[in-house]
Amino acid sequence: MKGICSPPIEPDIGKEPRMEQSEKGKDVLPELTDLQGLTVTDPLDLLDAEERATVREELDRLAHERREAEAASGTLRLG
């Protein structure tokens, strides 16, 4: 049965977006003032190689400790 109020759907694939690029986002988020050329794409990039290695090591250690503690949950009976 044909829908009485559903116009045929035109696939959008391959079509240009209807909204102009200049209309996107600009009215929602304000322009930000540059900090003399300083850009931070990812704050982790602010760490040097040694600091990054330390962070990775600490995270690995935390994860390892968590796994060990869970494995030792034991057979305490609470009642």
Binding site: L32, L35, V40, E51, L59, L62, E65, A72, T75
Partner: protein
Amino acid sequence: VDTTSWEEPEPAELRLLATDADWAGLAARYQGHNPRPLKRCLEVARAGGATTVVIETRYIDLDYRSEYSAFYAGAFRSAPDSAHRLHFFRAPLTADQLWRLPDDHGYLGYMIIRPSDLGPVGRTVLQAPPGMADAVRTTVRDQVCFFGQHLVVEGVPFMQQDSQLGRCAHAAAWMCHYTAHRRDGLARRPMADFSLSANPGLGYGRPLPSQGLTVQQLLELLRTFDLPASFYNVRQLPTSRLAPWAGPAPQPPSGQNEMHPGLWDTRLIGTCCRYLNSGFPVLVATGDHAFVLCGYRREPRDGKRDWITFIRHDDQRGPYLAVGNVLDDVDPDSGYQYSPWECLIVPLPTKLWLPPEPAEYVGAVLMRRLAQALQSQVPEAESLLKLIEGGRLALRTYAAPANTFKASLERGIDEQLLREYRLARFSHYVWVVEAVDRDQRKDGLPCVIGEAIFDATSSQNEPNLLALHIPGAAWVHRTTGPPRFPIRSAPDPYQSGGIGPP
């Protein structure tokens, strides 16, 4: 508990609670073998100013009915199949007001009473006693239908074990689960399910009458009830220093290396607080008992670390009880020795995959590093470094649904930053690591000067940073395109977004 004429008078009995004798009479009416949970519930209602109790004498309670069906219906001795429900009001009511309550009824909450000597106190939600309310952090809003009128109470759910079908572990798990039911809309599980669904292969002996649950049974039970739990063994708390500038990890007293960490390891406190700041109850297991932490109070002390007093619901002692000293935890009334705590079990929403510790660690590292990188161009950033140098920066970590976090931003946060946070794409749950000025906190002033926000579905090996804010500037990720940076903001401290006072 006298069950003679249990369902009379119909439909209810009203008692005024004006004198000690009135309260004693009510306690005597329902006293079981262990009177302490009932006694404490009545103390809480009395402290809240109750002057009237209305007793519904045939209340079909989902939890008791499930226990009746699963256990009591099979016993030789007859037991009523209904419960009593006690409602406490601050206003002195008369019988002819019950069908149309006055506006100022002052509803304080309810208690279900099972017709059982072994564990009369069933599902109970009572307002926290005055003076303790702001320390209680896992409060939920419960709606009650009272003779055709909708009443609301805010409190932490409590229940005593019935000692047959359920023990302390069942009651503690139920308290956490009912909290999640009311807080997050998790499907309700009646009390008997906590016994019937426990995997007997992970425990000992016969499942009924219950002798308790093993930790593994408890963890498995919570998982199957859509509340998978985070687990901490107190003997193996995370050893990493979560803030790079923090002092050395606590050590056992000199010459007592074998001493149980539950008697000296203060990291236990922070571990519990991160979850309580998020409104998640923490189930604590001692050697043979389980209870639930539902809040804490911070008390500053001159020249010493702040003192933390936890609040617990103990099914064998009652709701809203203060834990004087976590590391030397003794019940002042009975002398019962809770210490040392053995493990912490924290039932959590399914999608809270990232634990708080990696988030706190990376948040601390990055807030400091960003402040160092920006201090020449954003002078306000230096204040964070000065607080670290002076030992005056604390971290406060909590989880929240991103929508709740965004909705609660009207707490003194700079308008520009508020707009950026509200328009940002965040995961359903986020972990927030706040940078807190200890001096401002001590004086009861707005004390948060920055935060790091993490995607709660990210890996513990690589926490995904969603936003980073230090005094004067912020960075906010975008799922498409470059991040928003530098977002300039006023450096003024603002209120914490975690639950309860920081």
